[in-house]
Symmetry: C2
Subunit: 412 residues, 2 copies
Amino acid sequence: MKSKIDAVLKQQDLNGLVVLGGSAHNPAMYYLSNGASIGERSLLIKPRGKRAALVVNSMEREEAARSGLRVLDLHTAAIAAAPARPVKVGNPARTQARLLGTLLRQLGVSGRVALAGLQEAGFAAELVAQFNRGRFGATIVFAPDVISQAAVTKDADEVTRIRAVGAKTIAVVSDIQEFLSSQRAKDGVLVDRGGAPVTIGQVKARINLKLAEHGIVDAEAGTIFAQGRDAGIPHSRGQADQALRLGETIVFDIFPAEPGGGYFYDFTRTWCLGYAPDAAQALYDDVRTVFRKAMAALKVNAPTADYQRLTTDFFEARGHPTIASNRATQEGYVHSLGHGIGLQVHEAPSLSARSDERLTPGMVFTVEPGLYYPSRGLGVRIEDSVWINPATRGFEVLAPYPDDLVVPVRKR
Amino acid sequence: MKSKIDAVLKQQDLNGLVVLGGSAHNPAMYYLSNGASIGERSLLIKPRGKRAALVVNSMEREEAARSGLRVLDLHTAAIAAAPARPVKVGNPARTQARLLGTLLRQLGVSGRVALAGLQEAGFAAELVAQFNRGRFGATIVFAPDVISQAAVTKDADEVTRIRAVGAKTIAVVSDIQEFLSSQRAKDGVLVDRGGAPVTIGQVKARINLKLAEHGIVDAEAGTIFAQGRDAGIPHSRGQADQALRLGETIVFDIFPAEPGGGYFYDFTRTWCLGYAPDAAQALYDDVRTVFRKAMAALKVNAPTADYQRLTTDFFEARGHPTIASNRATQEGYVHSLGHGIGLQVHEAPSLSARSDERLTPGMVFTVEPGLYYPSRGLGVRIEDSVWINPATRGFEVLAPYPDDLVVPVRKR
């Protein structure tokens, strides 16, 4: 929750937080600027206990004002920060350090300050080195989790937005399922009315179009629609020119977001077109069983690591290799059970063996067990995104959708 | 050009380049990994004079292999880098520094190394501090322009991709122009067949749908469709609920990209629906005149700053305030003439007064003069993206489009 920022700053003995960069694809800035549409040279300064100030190019002053924050002019600040005798060839990191020092002084922030926001890594390092060498009465210290500690539990309006992206996501999934069902089987592949094979590339183009119709976007160009052997490699995206084959497992993992760096949803189903071979059905049953076990076991305040253990224990008992017994395995269960979602598609909490987090009201996270056997041409994953409702302390799937394995297709 | 990386490393006395992060919305990684679809924990190490190595999660090994680079397993590297006695609560930046040190040693890179790629600023600073305190035989030094020096001139395949995005962009612009022309004028606003006002929000939804049909995306959710007073504020996006009014200047600035962090195009036209009042036409004529003057004057090897001067000189002579005479002006001409485009919507070169760059074959950049009078409810900008063809040394607009001010609409 955003209101926790001050408490986190206090707890870490920090007097302020500086965020660098624009709001597009920069979760820290998007979060604290409330999604104002501002460019890459922007800065945000949050003094502990006071309203944040957003420092932007004057061309962006109106967009910045929508943040509800105090808006300062970057150019005016830059003039105030310029050295009396201008340097001909400047070190851009030193210039930025001086600007930051001037702004912090102006806003009355001294002492320990944290830094956030995506920047070019080399520039960020030089900026901090230059700043801490300067005499600005403040020091940038390493405090990587100020925002993540606050953002790990979501505000009501954030949940509303994630849920809305979820509703749109499953509307697209439903359209794709209907589209596939309306095609025909011929010689083991899916064909359209004209008899031409339906390819993964076509399906992906349709997904992107439907996402646009709903006003959301595949922000990372990462939609997975992978069949057979590719389904057995968790992050294989699938091959565009492949025709869809009947009876193979298709992993369909879709994680769209609001445009320009807003909230994500994350969702996976595994489908077999026409029919499911016994091996696919057996694998699917194991994944669905542990998926339901884990969902049923979710409990407020339980360690997130417990659910990864539940999953690896079950899979091992069923004879599948897992990373619990062999960290390097590429067959069986090879990843963690889930992760938080929000302005990032992967964020805290982590449902992994080494996590020390606990399930806390307000969290939104995925539950996504899977089994992968690329050597056998098989892969299965099921994923829903869950919110812990602070009012009821109950666990709610934000966008429920059926989990049938077989998607029937027309016979002729 | 990518092949220049080694020369730039040599010139700056660097033995290698490290790039951090995934390829989505991370231009440095996208560039050097050739757009491979890899996640946020990835690393790329380019030893000077040798092929780069891409270090990824094993789940992404197949996507990484498409880069054509040497692919290493992140998990294996992490095991090699782990301290003999594991630390219970680790500093993640120290862990990453150790991983990086181990990989550099494995790849035979020592001495001065540059760092690139988008990272959380605080983490990047701590990583470099930890690394340089370690004993890895290498030092990360501040060398911010290794990639930009290479990427400022584009390879032929990059130009092909930018040109393709440009062709799709103007196809969308053309669709929107036709859509507007097919609507009717009524009481000074544009209305549809049913007599309902056409809003900016509707136009933007149509833009996004058409972009998706062409397989490109408004990556920064930044399309500007701003009329009247808002057109007078260069980066105002426009207000979704406003009905389109006849006779007002509409600035339509669109900069879509390939999905997931690929190449951008950048394009602007100013339109008046139905008719242009004299004041709008006069402003437009000034902008179009200097636009054509600047385009006609482009010359290989000329300083980019010359064209900003040409523009401010012309505007000042026509009685418009500009940032040349008053850096803080918010009326008249308030920005620089252009910027490079590529994997970023703004990159080198800069066509600004303080730039020391020169027009070089292979560059792709915008030319975008504008005049802004928010107090008078007016704004005008015209923008094309230009490539300097290395074969002919000629300047080519990558996606030509008419620049008429008035978009006729139906009378009834």
